[in-house]
Symmetry: D3
Subunit: 221 residues, 6 copies
């Protein structure tokens, strides 16, 4: 049996700190006999994918990077905007996983209805638009932001934001959510303690995306 | 770091041959450092889950078995009827994965629209009802059965049915499917060669369910 | 012409007081030339159907009771959880009516959009899940609970709760409801005065279920 | 207790033979202690409601007739086009029941998904439009017409059309229908034998409408 | 090339002041080489279309007027209730445009999701019902009324209501609206300044309806 | 009053013959007092937009061209793939109209349900995906291809394909379509004769897009 090529987790912006945080989040998926998981940064990209033009340009660069790595067994696009998801799927037969979609699908596998904790009110419409595109609005119990908007740094620091996240999660439970999606990769370090406090599954989208890619790579897909 | 308990793959009927086939299908997910994967049969059940009463009784037995195994880290209900999925979710905080749902969610993570190959025309309405319950009908490109109904035995034997499956898959591609779900666990041995022939991802529901469970167990959920 | 067998109204819990209240609510449907209407309690059940396990066990008992009464012409499952609705439909060709579904269908026959008065905020997600399963969310104007949660006893007592129910109903009218469903069987005694006060139809689910069963039995179905 | 006024079943066209057939179909609902059921013809209308202008004019006449009969306790609009359904609901607080909607709602109370037997291919799009308006398309298993179009006279005569109806019903069962609606009032006399042959409930829309009206009138609504 | 007949903009009530305002709003569409645009009042109608009976009667009068003007190339029904939209479409092959539908369709052509500014809370359920009928609820970001209800006169006067409209529009932007529909013809004079202030397209339904009619007439439809 | 800048109709490929055909189709919209309508080709593009990479690259070029023409009052993206529709909308406040969406919206303004004539079976899934994205599937009566696939050249030539188009349109009418969209720009020259033959509106998407742009430009939007 031949070894599987690595799963590439592509951070489509050029912020190396983000890439390192992604690598920490997916550490549990590096297993004996399983594929390597490489987290990459795109140096030519801006520090953040902010505008729609950034998304289009990042899409082409992500697709170029995927082409340049024929050894890889799967591609994870590690950005909520999922730049190039449709493009890569036409250019490679390898599994291509979008981070936002993966978080939603994982939550749908855990409960009838799910909730999302947004990092700020302003992100909610964009998330709802993606749920509409996915055709899964009927599974959404609700999406709420913490009582005050969090910076990305605060979102990962329990001393700065755990009470706010727990409060948001409790509200979503009352709205009927049986599972919670963290609506910002920065919240990842609080996944476990939040799940413990709420008593229902809490999903980190990066982990969900890598789990989905792993599921395909292991069966040879 | 404490060891993870095993993932239980529960075959809710009493047919040991089915359980053994499940175990072969999930072999690729037994990895160094990952949880064990145990496939179990429920001896008190009938040989097959055929009637709605079977489903209710199997649900209670599956829930009892889950209770009797507090060491397990996750439960996979390895039957298309998913007996007890909602019941187990109220009785345990561990991940509970239904096989049919998992196959659909995996396919939704691979393509905009998916198709299903049924083992026979008669299964299609029941599958559609589950897609409606899941709220994902808008993602379905179509479901088709082979030109003649297959026995479960034939469904896993390329010499008996590969041409029929390829024909059904080709039709689904023409209907807009970007990924295919095998609508019967028996087809599992043909997953790889069918994917190769069709050029789009082909999903085996048992594998999808275990991959989903694994994704939760590895992050501690 | 042969006499019709009785309509069985099965209270799947063991609380006789509930069964007696059901019998009072359906009194208007006992007509000359029509079938008898028998309200039954299941003695082996707990006093209330509280957990999902209760629902599964009540489903099997309800199905057993239906089997034991081949003389009955129709079965009404008089509990909002509708235990065994799908099971009974596979075991008998007689009409099987679920109380929650019947209330919703009756309201849909009276107005374009309906509202629901819940007994407490906590019931709303469960009701919404059932409306989603029924595929009728687009007909829902809204669901509201009284300003403070009611006990079942209070819910049927005008001096304790009429003002709260009228307030909730008025809010639903403002949200576009053209008919109101009482979201708790306990509210039944206030149906008429609430309808009078609001000027739009108010539906009691038990009565709706028996009316639906009667409609089938009279035509021989 | 005051006597209930009659339920008016208004045939909005001027064909007395149709009105007489309606009266025969609703005979089982004339019960001791229940309201009278009067079937009326609108003499000023054309023999059939054929054009959209006919519908608008019939709507106003139906509303006038309802106004002229304040003694009536409920109004059934006995025509698939349901002329004036929305108009009457703004002009009276009495229950106003549309025949087509009532048939669909009755079927939804009997099975997860329903099928419709149309009298001819040409009626199907109009029926589908009404199901879309009702927001219940997800409950439709399918609608089929007999292999050859039937006249209204043939549709009620077993010797002329029973085999065709059974064939259509069998096809709908294969498509997943758990209940069947007769898509033409003319088929009414074959309801019972068709139900017997198919083994699933068969719904006559006129009867469903009167049953629904009766359910409201008996509780005082 | 033959000259095109005029586009008729029919105000189905008898209020001439309304008709004059309509004529001012559509002035930009009177172009060299294009059709004339005539705005008409129906003298026999009441001053306002208030009841459902008004709607039915206005429908017949609007259809009669359309018949009496075979020279017209298209008909715009300039009333949010769109009386006779379905009737006219069966009686003429000329384009028949409803004002409310046209506003929504224009907004759907400008942004993924749209918002509506209602003149008062009370109009919102009626608008939502029309969006449901159109099957476009998934495109709605939200509908809001100004903080206090406006009279029709106030709604067109910037000194009386511009701040309120801007506030409502800002709220809709936050809810994800990429385009705004003025939910009352009276607001028409403020369209341009509101669009300027909000930075997203603002749609006047009368103008949208005439633009749509013009698009058909110019190509000979 | 200042003159309006031109409406740009951007053909995102480099095939000048296509651009010239677009210009002929929109000739009726060049009116006295209205804006000019300029049809442009993007020379750096390939001859046809075939791959998803073509779409991404065309999107960036279309956005660049829109930026380079600040004098233009509106942008029409004259390609069924609508490259850059979302990108342009974030980079300009001018109206940006996609050709495929515009055709659908125009049809929705003319009839309850619409049909589409595809140029070949293979285009249907892609069209359906766009209707799903638009959230308007419930308005679709059906989409059919001619009995044999047409070349683009044949699609515009009555002697080669009129009978096939009429046959397809007739089938769509039977499926409930009240308006027809030409699913390929090449069919444009047959719009009028097909409308005449079918007796229901036939929509050309290029014309619909320009009409929509014109409607915005004339009111100053």
């Amino acid at each position: 049996m031949t070894a599987k090529g690595p799963i590439l987790v592509i951070n489509p912006n050029s912020d190396v700190a983000v890439t390192e945080a992604l690598s920490r989040a997916v550490e549990p998926f590096r297993l004996g006999g399983g594929p390597a998981i490489e987290c990459l940064t795109i140096a030519e990209s801006p520090l953040g994918i902010m505008t729609q033009r950034d998304v289009y340009e990042a899409a082409l660069r992500t697709a170029d990077l995927a082409k340049a790595r024929p050894d890889a067994s799967a591609i994870v696009i590690a950005c909520y905007s999922q730049p190039g998801l449709d493009l890569l799927r036409t250019e490679t037969r390898r599994p291509v996983v979008g981070m936002q979609d993966a978080g939603v699908l994982a939550a749908m596998g855990l409960a009838d209805r799910f909730g999302v904790i947004a990092v700020a009110e302003g992100s909610i419409p964009r998330h709802l638009a993606n749920l509409a595109r996915m055709g899964v609005m009927s599974r959404l119990a609700g999406e709420v932001a913490p009582a005050r908007a969090l910076t990305v740094a605060e979102s990962g620091d329990p001393s700065a934001s755990f009470d706010l996240l727990r409060e948001a999660g409790t509200k979503l439970k009352q709205m009927g959510a049986g599972a919670i999606i963290l609506g910002c990769a920065g919240m990842s370090p609080q996944r476990g303690i939040l799940e413990e406090a709420l008593g229902i599954p809490v999903v980190d989208a990066t982990q969900a995306a890598v789990a989905q890619a792993l599921g395909r790579v292991l069966v040879g897909g």
